[in-house]
Symmetry: C2
Subunit: 135 residues, 2 copies
DNA sequence: ATACATGCAAATTGTTTGCGGGCAG
DNA sequence: CTGCCCGCAAACAATTTGCATGTAT
């Protein structure tokens, strides 16, 4: 892969990110370093980076494509349904039962994703204080 | 919810379906009974049915919104990456560890989804025979 | 009768593509 | 130099919305 200015910026953003980013979020961050970078460049490079295994694509319930660094420890995602905060969960309960699943279904399973949705600690606190009236 | 002709058709399609259907797939099926039914009607009613808890929305890696009957036994999905076949898996390894996850993350988890991807028995067979040359 | 649903067409949103010029190797 | 890459604009695809009309209650 040819190392263009734009690609360096994109790779850095993805590798620094604490959670998966959408194409638009990536472009906005990139604009701080290179305001002329086009959204189509973001998409084209994300596609290439997916092919090369440099990043991974995820979709939560909103259907937006989000991208994160590849090569991290196997993990899943926790999404706050109130504020949208997303974070990684390093726990996976599937490995232990994957063989059972394959045996039961006849499939050869190559990949899986687990998304958990709920309220993050902050939004949970807010919700409680709204109900009680004690902030 | 007012029981219109179109809604009866839509509900029946969703309740009969063996796997989650996209809006377009639902419309195509519906056209066999009511060729004038509009795609926007499908979307508007799916939205309403989601609010009322009459159906659930799912997204696999292609990002398309798919819909399935609500009120089924808790389950997850297995998707063949070759032919697109989708089926339900009645096994869930999360219930046992959900409390651990909540304790570790501080989230209140309200919902989760697990999608498994791989080759279905048929496509697995085809792939093997292609390699060996023995059909 | 009235409020809510529908069909149609147009608008939005996220993503992809075609093209002429630009830059990394 | 040369082929891949970029920015821009236009094309697409999925979904949403506005509006005039139709229909379940």
């Amino acid at each position: 892969m040819r190392m263009t200015r734009q690609r360096k910026v994109l790779l850095e953003i993805i590798n620094q990110a604490a959670s998966p980013l959408s194409a638009e979020e990536i472009m906005l961050q990139a604009h701080q370093q290179d305001p002329s970078l086009a959204l189509s460049t973001v998409y084209r490079n994300l596609e290439k980076m997916l092919e090369l295994g440099l990043c991974q694509q995820i979709r939560f319930q909103d259907g937006l494509a989000r991208f994160e660094q590849a090569g991290l420890v196997h993990h899943h995602h926790l999404v706050c349904t109130a504020c949208g905060r997303r974070e990684a969960v390093p726990i996976c309960p599937l490995h232990q039962i994957q063989q059972q699943l394959e045996a039961a279904s006849g499939y050869k399973i190559t990949y899986h994703e687990i998304n958990l949705y709920g309220l993050c600690p902050d939004c949970l606190k807010k919700q409680v204080s709204e109900q009680t009236g004690h902030p």
